[in-house]
């Protein structure tokens, strides 16, 4: 059982690593506007909103306000990074490489410890949290896996490449925790972000 979970987790981690490498073929400089369709609310809001998804009127300077644009998401901005290699320093890359080797050899404790070392150097690198999520999954800690994946989402800004993989990890974590409804919700999120990633890459 434990072995199976480990293997599943490892497979997930490798999938993550592979995914981030092969999602795309082409770079474009355009970034489609992201609406609520591809950014669904992860949790239902308790209170009924008075004006759901209302955006305030556009006023001066032709600047659109109230759209879900993020800093760095302007139309002429480059693509968000899709792999750790693009954003990490050589030091962090070397630690990530070491962690990947340790994880492949099943040494999840040391893999986790090495990733934490990387996090000390780059505390807001979403790819490190993403790998930690994969390791936690392999360590049979679905709760931690989901928390790490969500943290990766939160520090990564609106990066569909990162988010697609994170939601995939969250889906697996929820499945491992026996929450199949939650798992399919997460899987749907992952699909959404994968679609956005594909659009971006075209």
């Amino acid at each position: 059982m434990i072995m199976n979970t480990r293997l599943a987790g490892l497979a997930a981690m490798l999938a993550v690593v592979l995914l981030s490498g092969c999602v795309t073929t082409q770079r474009t400089d355009t970034y489609p506007p992201t609406g609520s369709v591809i950014e669904p609310q992860p949790e239902p809001r308790g209170e009924t909103s008075r004006l759901p998804d209302r955006t305030p009127p556009v006023v001066t300077g032709g600047q659109t306000t109230g759209t879900p644009q993020q800093p760095g998401m302007q139309a002429n901005q480059p693509l968000p990074p899709r792999s750790a290699e693009q954003v990490s320093s050589p030091a962090v890359r070397s630690l990530l490489g070491r962690a990947d080797t340790l994880a492949r050899n099943g040494n999840m404790d040391l893999a986790s410890s090495t990733l934490e070392r990387a996090l000390d150097l780059e505390p807001r690198n979403p790819f490190i949290y993403q790998r930690l999520a994969a390791v936690k999954l392999a360590q049979d800690q679905p709760g931690q896996a989901e928390a790490m994946a969500r943290k990766s989402n939160s520090v990564g800004g609106n990066n569909p490449f990162v988010r697609a993989d994170n939601w995939q990890l969250i889906a697996e974590a929820r499945r491992a925790a026996g929450d199949s409804a939650g798992a399919s919700e997460a899987a749907a999120q992952a699909k959404n972000y994968q679609r956005t990633s594909l659009q971006l890459s075209q």
């Binding site: 609520s36 950014e39 008075r50 800093p71 050589p90 986790s112 410890s113 934490e116 505390p123």
Partner: protein, 816 residues
């Protein structure tokens, strides 16, 4: 005891039987005596049996002690290692000072570990080998290249490609030893500089290699010398006897004890080889005192006096330690440098005369400084507050004996550089404040906690203004009312209900009276003792720490909900859910505040604050990891909104004076806290990678005459400045949108002119965040943060529209 060591019996009998033979041989044979002989013989036999039995007993004791668990080894506590990598934001001077702190020696060659050399603009370092929690790192010679911003490259001098990163061996910051206990680091004879045992024999016991444990020659020599001097100037004890004395006996100077000591020395010498005895001596000998901690053995003494391993000691340093054997207190190089120096040079002369220190080395060593560090880095008295925390975090997982006896290695999160600067800033900051404000000198106390935000690592902990004094640990134990530090928790609770509150919701700051359950009436007041009207924008009330509006807001959202948020953020206490909680009527230690604020700083993700990352056995086997644990505690949108206001506290509000010290470009967030009668002065704040909480007050709980801004913030800004802070990255979560607004409270006032002004230009607009879907009704870009103004403006626009419609009608009438 003797019964436990049956093997000891035959050997033990040998010694007394020798003596018996000798005595019998000297007796004359006479009639009378012959008749008495059987009795004498019987008596003698009895005596021999007693002596033999005693010898057997002693022998057992000697062997037990020598072979059993000879020493208890206190756990060793290490700071976080410095990671060296290209891009590290640390200048050459910064690295040199870090190396010096760890006892690295500036040298003209780096062929030995623990040395460094400046080579042009670069720095060669021979890093010591070290066993980390995740494995061994061999010693390595590297060349660090630098550019304007810090380390640019790391080239291994043994060839090969540049290294991506390498760790420096961590600073050992203390031991966990029993109260009034011995502390030591074990060394092996074959791993230490040969000059040390040679020198020790030369100075302490020339015949060591040849005598049987006692040396009649030395005793005689000492007796003659003492008789000449008329006092005790020389001891006749061999190294073996000294070891016996340290090992087994108390300090009584009686003849019986002397005899026992000699007998045991003989036994020890009979059982064990000279190298075994010498090694035991090297590890046992007493070499100094550090408060309640006794420094035993050369291994620890080397760190205690020179902050480096024994194998790196130079001749002058070896000679000093050898010199101190005679009287560690009398020759204490820190307290009696002149005396220590004179004896060291005498010892160096003996080294030279004995032939194992050449002329040149001798001359150099005699001229050298004592070389002792001002403050012992291994002393637990350097970071007592932090070690205290380490102990507490270990408590429950390990028995006391595990920690004080098994030589465990404890790897912590402490950053020695940040710890040192935080201590200095607290100490100097308090003195400066006292001086500037005419407060009685030394009346203020303080505590500070610095964390890494992400990962929740504790980088520095200061428990009082005299950080070296292991007294009351205020960072953990001084629980004081937190005052306005609670306010962000109140606002976070409110902002988590976006249908009811946004950052510009108008709050009533009018006088407030709340009837309490016990019949009393609670009447809070503003710091200024005046109200700020009935429509203070929510963000403004927090930025300027208004009490009345905050109390009303807390009552509105419900005090139990505020308590709930407090717990989600990491508070483990159970505060009374009373109205005054809204203004901070809850006692917390700085550490508890740090836990709560760390969750805010980390975007709503709770991570238990940790001082320890790994524990291994003495030979590096992992025992316990403390892996990163995170929990999504509160939604990120309300945390983002709260933090946005706290950034305004830092820019424009009660925390703004931080920018007199910190660079303007740095985006930080924080909150002041002040309690009744100015008793407690707090500041808690953070950037992307550092969080610090500072408390200033008095131990006797009298008024400190300080607000959060005039007291704690002054220390906080300087602590932060030295801690390599990064600004907050403004990445709003998905479900947050921004609207450019003109933040004009309190000057808006609703005058018509203002309404026209902002309709004309939208300069000075601020991007104000709202939860998506909850932007207040009727709000447009360039509106004001004063909702009444916006409403008035909307009415006015409608009016104008109606008027123009009327006008149209009128024109229509004309042109009809």
């Amino acid at each position: 005891m003797a019964s436990k060591t049956p093997k000891a019996r035959p050997k033990a009998r040998r010694a007394p039987s020798k003596r018996a033979r000798n005595t019998r041989g000297g007796k004359p044979r006479r009639g009378f005596i012959r008749r008495l002989l059987p009795y004498v013989f019987l008596l003698f036999c009895l005596g021999a049996v007693v002596v033999a039995a005693y010898a057997v007993y002693l022998d057992g004791e000697v062997r037990n002690q020598f072979e059993g668990t000879r020493w208890t080894l206190p756990a060793k506590v290490y700071a976080a290692p410095l990671e060296l990598y290209a891009g590290l934001d640390l200048s050459r001077d910064g690295i040199v000072s870090r190396l010096a702190r760890q006892g690295y020696r500036s040298s003209t060659t780096t062929d030995r570990p623990g040395t460094y050399e400046s080579v042009g603009g670069a720095l060669d370092v021979h890093i010591r080998p070290f066993t980390f929690w995740d494995g061994d790192q061999a010693d390595r010679e590297i060349r660090l290249g630098f550019d304007g911003s810090g380390v640019a490259s790391i080239r291994p001098l043994d060839g090969g490609d540049d290294l991506a990163l390498i760790r420096l061996d961590p600073l050992m910051i203390g031991s966990i030893y029993p109260t009034q206990g011995e502390d030591r680091i074990l060394v092996k004879l074959d791993e230490i500089p040969p000059m040390l045992p040679a020198g020790l024999i030369t100075v302490e016991d020339r015949d060591f290699l040849h005598h049987w444990g006692v040396s009649p020659k030395s005793i005689l020599r000492a007796a003659v010398a003492n008789a000449r001097a008329g006092r005790v100037v020389q001891g006749g004890s061999t190294i073996t006897q000294q070891l016996v004395k340290n090992f087994y006996l108390n300090n009584q100077q009686t003849l019986v004890r002397k005899a026992k000591e000699a007998l045991m020395a003989l036994l020890l010498d009979a059982h064990y080889s000279k190298p075994e005895i010498l090694e035991a001596y090297l590890n046992e000998v007493y070499l100094g005192q550090d408060g309640g901690r006794a420094i035993h053995g050369f291994g620890l003494a080397s760190y205690f006096y020179f902050q480096k391993p024994l194998e790196e000691l130079q001749p002058n340093e070896i000679a000093l330690l050898v010199a101190m054997v005679k009287g560690p207190s009398y020759y204490d190089p820190r307290r009696n440098p002149e005396r220590a120096r004179a004896r060291r040079n005498l010892v160096l002369d003996m080294f030279h005369d004995a032939g194992f220190l050449d002329d040149e080395g001798w001359a150099v060593a005699r001229k050298a400084d004592l070389g002792v560090t001002a403050r012992s880095s291994r002393s637990t008295s350097q970071y007592p507050a932090f070690i205290d925390l380490v102990r507490r975090q270990l408590h429950g997982q390990y028995e006391d004996a595990d920690l004080t006896e098994d030589g465990l290695r404890i790897f912590t999160t402490l950053d020695p550089a940040i710890q040192a600067s935080t201590e200095a800033r607290v100490n100097k900051g308090l003195a400066d404040i006292e001086k500037a404000r005419g407060i009685k000198a030394d009346s203020l106390e303080s505590a500070a906690v610095v964390t890494s935000v992400e990962g929740g690592r504790i980088l520095a902990l200061v428990g009082g203004r005299n950080a070296g004094f292991a007294g009351f640990n205020r960072a953990l134990d001084a629980r004081r009312p937190i005052g306005s530090l609670i306010k962000p928790v109140v606002y976070l609770t409110a902002l988590a209900e976006p249908s009811k509150y946004s950052v510009i919701t108008p709050l009533d700051d009018g006088p407030l009276a709340v009837k309490l359950a016990n019949g009393d009436t609670w009447r809070p007041n503003n710091y200024s003792n005046s109200s700020h009207g009935n429509a203070v924008p929510l963000h403004y009330a927090l930025t300027h720490s208004y009490n009345l509006s905050t109390a009303r807001l807390a009552l509105d959202v419900g005090i139990p909900n505020v308590v709930e948020t407090l717990k989600k953020l990491g508070y483990t206490g159970d505060p009374l859910a009373v109205p005054s909680l809204s203004l901070g009527a809850v006692d917390m230690a700085p550490m508890q505040v740090a836990q709560i604020y760390n969750t805010l700083a980390a975007g709503g993700y709770y991570t238990p604050l940790l001082a320890i990352r790994d524990v291994t056995t003495s030979d590096g086997e992992p025992l316990n990891r403390y892996p990163l644990q995170i929990k999504r505690a509160v939604d990120d949108a309300p945390v983002y909104l709260t933090r946005w206001i706290m950034q305004r506290v830092a820019r424009y509000g009660t925390g703004a004076s931080m920018y007199k010290v910190l660079p303007n470009s740095l985006d930080l967030a924080g909150k002041t806290g002040t309690t009744d009668d100015l008793r407690d002065s707090w500041f808690a704040g953070f950037g992307a990678n550092r969080l610090a909480v500072v408390w200033v007050g008095r131990d006797d709980n009298q008024s400190a005459q300080l607000t959060g801004a005039t007291g704690a913030l002054q220390l906080w800004s300087r602590i932060m400045k030295d801690a390599d802070p990064r600004g907050i990255l403004d990445v709003p979560p998905d479900n947050v949108v921004t609207v450019p607004l003109r933040l004009q409270f309190p000057n808006g006032g609703g005058a018509d002119q203002d309404l026209y002004q902002y309709a004309q230009s939208c300069g000075n607009a601020t991007e104000v965040p709202f939860v998506r879907g909850y932007v207040p009704d009727g709000l447009s870009s360039c509106d004001s943060d004063i909702m009444a103004d916006n409403a008035a403006r909307a009415r006015q626009q409608q009016q104008q529209q109606r008027e123009s419609e009327d006008e149209g009608n009128w024109l229509q009438r004309i042109f009809r």
